[in-house]
């Protein structure tokens, strides 16, 4: 059974509509570790040993955060800089993360069609996620498909509810004993997992 870790980062969760709801829902799924980075390290002083232990204890690692400025809130960068140490995460002797799955659960303000080569932002989400993808690769991890919720700026509360239920289903499927994490590397959005034939179920 795959062990799932969600490193959650939102600097103003009290004002968030999307992530507050997502987090509430995710917390009800048994067996998923939620690591609330801003709550844990309000001064951005990250406990490296604790974070590395958490990573070692899990197989699928998500960074969940709003997609601020085509990237992530500051603490995610701080986390990457400090936790993924040379000789541990990467380099000749850095094999601690080998074979794990890494990805993002993100919310983007714009609609999906805005994230197209001919769209408002000129690139796909995948393009923008390149630093995460390459980071995973350098650390000998598989970059799985990200779970992207588009258009949160214009979404109604009911839409968010729908997205929330979908994410819960996806995460529950990851937790099934017979689930093969290999399938998620081939998707473009993790939500597509729900449309796959239940060959792995």
């Amino acid at each position: 059974m795959a062990r799932v870790l969600i490193n959650f980062a939102h600097p103003a969760l009290e004002k968030s509509r999307v992530h507050a709801q997502l987090l509430r829902a995710i917390k009800t799924i048994p067996g998923i570790t939620i690591n609330d980075l801003y709550e844990q390290y309000p001064d951005l002083d990250i406990n490296i040993a604790r974070e590395q232990t958490l990573l070692e204890q899990h197989d699928i690692i998500f960074m969940q955060h709003p997609f601020y400025w085509y990237s992530a809130p500051a603490i995610v960068k701080q986390w990457i800089d400090l936790v993924l140490e040379h000789g541990w995460a990467y380099g000749h002797t850095g094999k601690a993360l080998q074979g794990k799955y890494f990805s993002n659960i993100i919310s983007a303000g714009g609609a999906e069609n805005a994230y197209q080569p001919d769209g408002h932002h000129g690139h796909t989400i995948h393009d923008f996620l390149l630093p995460f993808i390459q980071t995973a690769k350098l650390c000998n991890m598989h970059y799985a498909a990200p779970y992207v919720i588009y258009g949160v700026h214009r979404e109604d509360i009911s839409d968010i509810k729908e997205e929330t239920q979908k994410l819960v289903q996806v995460l529950e499927r990851l937790r099934r004993p017979e689930f093969d994490p290999g399938v998620i590397t081939g998707l473009s959005n993790l939500s597509q997992l729900l449309q796959l034939p239940a060959q792995t179920q």
């Binding site: 939102h10 600097p11 009290e14 801003y38 709550e39 844990q40 309000p42 809130p73 700026h153 214009r154």
Partner: protein, 630 residues
């Protein structure tokens, strides 16, 4: 106008205090000397405004002593006594016993009868709680090793008066049996042991009543919710006890002291203390004035050499005993000198005991008068002796210690940081710097702490950082930063001024106790001011916010925002204060200041900062576009 009316006397006392105390302070003599001087001037010896009869003055003095002892008694918490038990019993007990024995021995050698010698020894072994504690407080020496030891000894002396008062009738009784000429005038026609029994009985009554009567009475008073009734009740208790003590022929001052000790056990103690505290300073002043006025210059002029000889002789004997004891109890030489100097005087209890002995005819009235003069002079000398210590002896130690230190390791002694004051505050900063590989030169005024730090291998200079030569010796000329973390705001200001004048290149990082200090430091142009509790208070606030369910990051940011805003507001207020060109602020203005601070807190809701994370405006814009398209 009746010169002896109460109002006229009150006016004379108050006016004398107002004239002479600021004068004495200005001259660096301290408030106690000011009061004493005022007493001398208005007393019968100079102007004769008050107390043309000596009894008047002693009446006044007695009143001050009664009130002071009541408060001292109230501060005598059993817990405090227990914590200081070793030094109170050991140091205090030995001081009283050895000094009394030494003085009694000398008196015996000078041809006094045995009982008289014993009484004199006991009376003169005591020191002045009022003057010594007041002076130590004034100079900020209470926290030093010498201050603590002196306090312990004074406590023991205060307690030792009780058995002494019980013993005196016994001594007088045996005098009576020896010399039949006095036997007819024994008070109450009781034998010596009977008087002793009466005294013990009165003490027992006070203790039992205090334990079982005071509490229910106070509860009733508290229920009335009339504040001044507390003060009235406390005073009534003192007066009632005093009356009882007078009935059995004891001093009302001692009675008040006992009353205070009884109230120290009550849960209403702090209430009572805060009610009476304002009277304390004034009453003490009154007492000091009375002491000054009671110095009988006529008597002194008649036998100047005998009296001065007695003063010097007694104080020398006491000083030697104290110094020897300080040595045994491992006080450093400078602290030991302060200890010996402070307690070498004879205390106000001596007045009480002397009047008691003259009542019981233990001592002759001439002897009592002479001793009263001796006691008063020795008390008047105490602040002067302390001044001598402060100006002449202490600097000597400071200088020699620093020199010895510097000779030992002159080359390595070039630290970029100097820390003045290594108490709770400074030690934390110092430890932090040290943990990060920055050595600091540390200056501290507590020699025991200095020793302890030496043992830990930390280089500390003993001495007052507001002295130019000490700062220079500590390497101020080559240092970059001076951290001022002393406990005393006045000393802090002195150090700042000194450093600004002679070492302007130093960055000053200054601890401030409260907003007042902060304003004064701002006026001096200090850029880096650290209000000592603000960080802790805000950390408590952050934790409270978190416990109420707020996000950690939001709470921390709110605290930082609040901190910045508070500093800004304070600077604004400081600028406003400058216009007034005065430091005395009325309570109303202080409240207004607090209001300004609080209302500026409301200008912004702290927790709303960080709009970049929550682009409401962006959402509005997008929704608007959507509507346009539809």
């Amino acid at each position: 106008m009746d010169q002896h009316s109460l109002l006229f006397q009150a006016m004379v006392y108050l006016a004398a205090a107002i004239v002479f105390v600021p004068l004495a302070k200005k001259l660096g003599l301290g408030a106690v000397l000011g009061y004493l001087l005022a007493g001398v001037i208005i007393g019968p010896s100079v102007l004769g405004f008050i107390g043309t009869e000596g009894e008047d003055i002693m009446h006044f003095a007695e009143f001050g002593v009664v009130m002071m002892l009541f408060l001292i008694g109230m501060e005598l918490e059993p817990a405090l006594l227990w914590r200081l038990r070793a030094s109170i019993l050991g140091l205090g007990g030995l001081q009283v016993v050895i000094s009394a024995a030494a003085i009694a021995g000398i008196a015996l050698l000078l041809g006094q009868p045995v009982n008289n010698s014993l009484a004199l020894g006991m009376i003169l072994s005591l020191s002045s709680t009022a003057i010594v504690l007041q002076t130590l407080n004034e100079k900020g020496w209470m926290g030093t090793a010498a201050g603590q030891s002196a306090f312990s000894v004074l406590l023991f002396q205060d307690i030792a008066v009780i058995p002494m008062l019980a013993i005196f009738p016994l001594l007088a009784g045996s005098v009576a049996t020896e010399s039949t000429s006095h036997s007819s005038s024994l008070r109450d026609n009781l034998p010596g042991w009977g008087q002793t029994l009466v005294v013990l009985g009165a003490v027992a009554i006070i203790i039992i009543a205090g334990r079982y009567l005071v509490r229910p009475i106070m509860r009733v008073i508290a229920r009335t919710r009339v504040r001044e009734l507390f003060t009235a009740t406390a005073l009534l208790m003192v007066v009632a006890i005093a009356v009882l003590m007078n009935l059995v022929g004891l001093s009302s001052a001692l009675g008040a002291f006992l009353g205070g000790v009884v109230l120290a056990n009550s849960e209403y103690r702090h209430e009572l203390e805060s009610d009476i505290e304002p009277f304390k300073g004034l009453l003490l002043g009154l007492f000091f004035i009375a002491v000054g006025a009671s110095i009988d210059f006529k008597l002194i002029l008649e036998q100047p050499w005998l009296i001065m000889g007695l003063v010097v002789g007694i104080m020398t004997v006491k000083g030697i005993v104290l110094f020897a004891l300080g040595k045994i109890f491992k006080l450093n030489i400078d602290q030991n000198l302060l200890f010996a100097f402070a307690l070498a005087d004879i205390g106000e209890f001596a007045f009480v005991l002397l009047s008691f002995t003259s009542q019981t005819r233990l001592l002759s009235s001439e002897m009592t008068a002479m001793m009263t003069a001796v006691v008063a002079i020795s008390m008047a000398l105490t602040p002067l002796i302390m001044l001598l210590y402060e100006k002449v002896i202490q600097p000597h130690f400071t200088r020699s210690e620093v020199k010895a230190e510097r000779e030992a390791d002159e080359i390595t002694e070039k630290h970029p940081v100097i820390i003045a004051g290594f108490g709770r505050f400074g030690s934390m900063t110092g430890r932090f710097l040290r943990a990060n590989g920055i050595n600091a030169t540390i200056l501290d005024l507590d020699s025991d702490r200095v020793d302890a730090l030496h043992n830990l291998g930390i280089k500390v200079y003993y001495g007052d950082a507001s002295r130019y030569d000490l700062l220079a010796a500590a390497g101020a000329a080559d240092a970059k930063i001076l951290i001022i973390a002393t406990d005393h705001p006045e000393q802090t200001l002195e150090i700042v001024k000194m450093a600004q004048r002679y070492f302007p290149h130093l960055q000053l990082l200054v601890r401030a106790e409260n907003n007042e200090d902060t304003f004064e430091l701002m006026d001096l142009g200090v850029l880096h001011i650290y209000r000592e509790t603000i960080d802790t208070s805000l950390r408590v606030g952050v934790d409270a916010l978190r416990m109420l369910g707020n996000r950690a990051y939001k709470s921390e940011r709110a605290a930082r925002t609040f901190f910045r805003q508070d500093e800004r507001t304070l600077k604004g207020l400081s600028a406003l204060r400058d216009d007034k060109k005065q430091y005395i602020i009325s309570m109303k203005e202080r409240i207004e200041e607090m209001e300004k601070l609080i209302s500026s807190d409301r200008v912004k809701t702290w927790l709303d900062e960080g709009q970049g994370w929550d682009p409401e405006s962006l959402r509005d814009e997008i929704r608007g576009e959507k509507r346009e398209i539809e």
